[in-house]
Symmetry: C2
Subunit: 367 residues, 2 copies
DNA sequence: AACAGTGTTTTGAACGATCAAATCGATCGT
DNA sequence: ACGATCGATTTGATCGTTCAAAACACTGTT
């Protein structure tokens, strides 16, 4: 029996095989895929037919090696319980969905703190040929963004460059606007003493949201003194804070909260006192968690799908590896997507703070 | 000015550069990394020194192309709100952490249902050179596992092959055991009528957990008739079911629940009646969500870190591309990691169902 | 009839690593 | 002292794709 004649059984087809079957060169197949305008229509159709028949798909590993572009975007997955597990999870999902539509994939990594995260960047960049990072939870004095910039890596942040004039692309949700909408909703329902249950003052996001509440109160001539509480993001603390305020000489009739966690604490305390949330005392949370939906808590929802879209759009600068050529850049500036995007959240109205006209528990959204 | 003499500024070092600097061949550098025993100690040290000095790291894309191994494991990220968002998120985190310790990375993808998921597998396998999949949420008649098997792809499932004798590697948590522990805990605290708030009967996981409750009751000679409720995983329904049972002629004094969501519903109803959870009526949930921790709900915790470890260990069969060689396999069977692992959950005791001797709200874990 | 200009296709090299086999020295047995 | 054996290292080919430049085939000009 002669030596096996190159038997290649049911393997994944390669570009060379497609080329042979279509009786063209390798490069022509490549052109059909990457630069169709260079190929004569007739030839192109023939090649495309073979591609369809064989189910050929270019191998990413080979493409990556050659082009230095992997179609991979790295994103952190936070420690459970940290930075709003549920919110981040929904964001990750949106990002993954959107990315895979445009041919990208999300690569996960973990890190307990910013320094560890920077080390993770270094590792990832050493191993893989990443196209970009999506960074979440930016804050004042964030070292991660400057590190990435220094390394020349593309990235977007979900979160503004708080407290710095950094010019990197970012996408964020207008927390002040959200809290303002929540507060105005309460005012429209007739409330005149509206408390704000917030986070400790070192939180950029927290201060932003607080500002929204304050603006709305000011604009309506309502008091704010003695109506602010700063606590860690914890249901029990939210409950305690709510109790304290309700027992004060001039108790508020509504609570605007910096998070659903804290709002649920308030909601629990109100219910435990035999009061009816949304009727006797109103509560509004932030982030529209599943728990909020479950108990009927009105909450401010972040448009995560849009955030994900905007992040990916901002990364569309993944073009041209910036090679300085003698060719003068033609006067046309490449229209790049928005690099700094601030999106508006929505108020999801439920029983804990219903609309003035309509006291039903029906859920509705207002932008 | 002469042509630029191969100026290579601060690029990432390649293996060739390391080889030149250490005055050895390419292959020797490769051997130092992949088969150190083949290299003379003195040479090895010299090469290692250069590697350390230059910070050289092999490029995954090139390795992947050559070895057909990417060190990538694909995992689904479920739609928010589906299959226990929080639980899956924690699982993903554990998996990512463990994987990156062993040089692997997690690649995300999404899919709305099983068919779409299979299409996603096909896409991923077409593009990337994946090492394996981790599948979650297996169920009776699951088409995904048979598809993967047919394609010859390595994978593990988090979840048993319910209702089939499939032989693929899997890791699961013993839900019956968890619910039994919960029920026994309630029995030890003196409860004699313990209800079970469960899911509709088409859920494999739900039936497994229910069996645990039933076993514990039977073993203690306690009644089960009329104490089972089947509802969707929803807080409001849990609350309603709890109310119905409490209003029945022979109301239970404790609730073992199939999930934290439902347990929180029960908890809410109990609290709303002015009863004190854990004192008047006890409740135990399942999954130890952050909400359970927040309100002090006793719950059954899945050992997700161990699940992740076991999944990765089961995948350690990522060896040998199965080439049939003439070399007879030596008698030694390669010790492979456990391919079928059933882990035991832990009861996390909190106020809603305290220990008999100790009515404090202190949190403790018992295995 | 030779030439420039287009449009289309092919050739050759390269990306960065690993595999398979060849080579080179030194050691060993008889 | 000579081939055999073994350890250490090198050479050559290859994974599947894209880039850069060359080659080819026409058309229209002069």
């Amino acid at each position: 029996m002669p030596a096996q004649p190159k038997a290649r059984p049911a393997q994944r087809p390669t570009m060379a095989e497609v080329a042979k079957a279509a009786d063209v060169s390798l490069q022509t197949v490549s052109n059909v895929l990457n630069a169709p305008h260079l190929v004569r229509a007739q030839t192109r159709e023939r090649v495309e037919a073979v591609i369809a028949a064989t189910g050929y798909r270019p191998l990413k590993a080979a493409q990556t090696l050659r082009t230095q572009r992997s179609h991979l975007i790295a994103v952190i997955i936070p420690e459970p319980g940290q930075w709003k597990g549920e919110l981040h999870n929904a964001f990750l999902h949106a990002l993954t969905r959107r990315a895979q539509k445009s041919g990208y994939r999300i690569l996960l990594f973990t890190a307990a703190d910013d320094d560890e995260e920077i080390r993770a960047y270094d590792q990832l960049l050493g191993d893989y040929t990443l196209d970009a990072f999506v960074i979440t939870g930016t804050h004042t004095g964030d070292r991660r963004t400057s590190w990435l910039r220094r390394k020349g890596v593309s990235f977007v942040t979900f979160g503004r460059p708080w407290g710095s004039a950094a010019t990197h692309p970012w996408v964020d949700v207008d927390g002040a606007d959200g809290e303002r909408k929540a507060t105005e909703h309460l005012i429209a329902a007739g409330h005149r003493r509206i408390a704000f249950l917030g986070w400790p003052e070192d939180s950029d996001v927290g201060e932003d949201r607080k500002a929204g509440w304050e603006q709305a109160c000011r604009a309506a001539g309502l008091p704010t003194d003695g109506l602010v509480v700063s606590i860690e993001d914890d249901l029990a603390r939210g409950r305690a804070a709510c109790a304290r305020l309700l027992d004060s000489p001039e108790p508020p009739t509504a609570f605007a909260c910096v998070s659903d966690t804290i709002a649920l604490g308030a909601w629990t305390e109100i219910a435990a006192r035999g009061l009816i949330p949304g009727q006797d005392v109103s509560v509004i949370g932030f982030d529209d968690s599943s728990a909020a939906a479950a108990v009927g808590l009105t909450s401010v929802a972040q448009p995560l799908d849009e955030v994900a879209d905007a992040c990916l759009a901002a990364l569309s600068k993944l073009r041209s590896p910036a090679r300085t050529s003698a060719r003068p850049s033609s006067g046309k500036i490449p229209k790049r997507a928005q690099q700094r995007v601030l999106l508006q959240p929505q108020l999801v109205i439920r029983g804990s703070a219903p609309s003035p006209e309509n006291t039903e528990n029906t859920e509705k959204r207002t932008s």
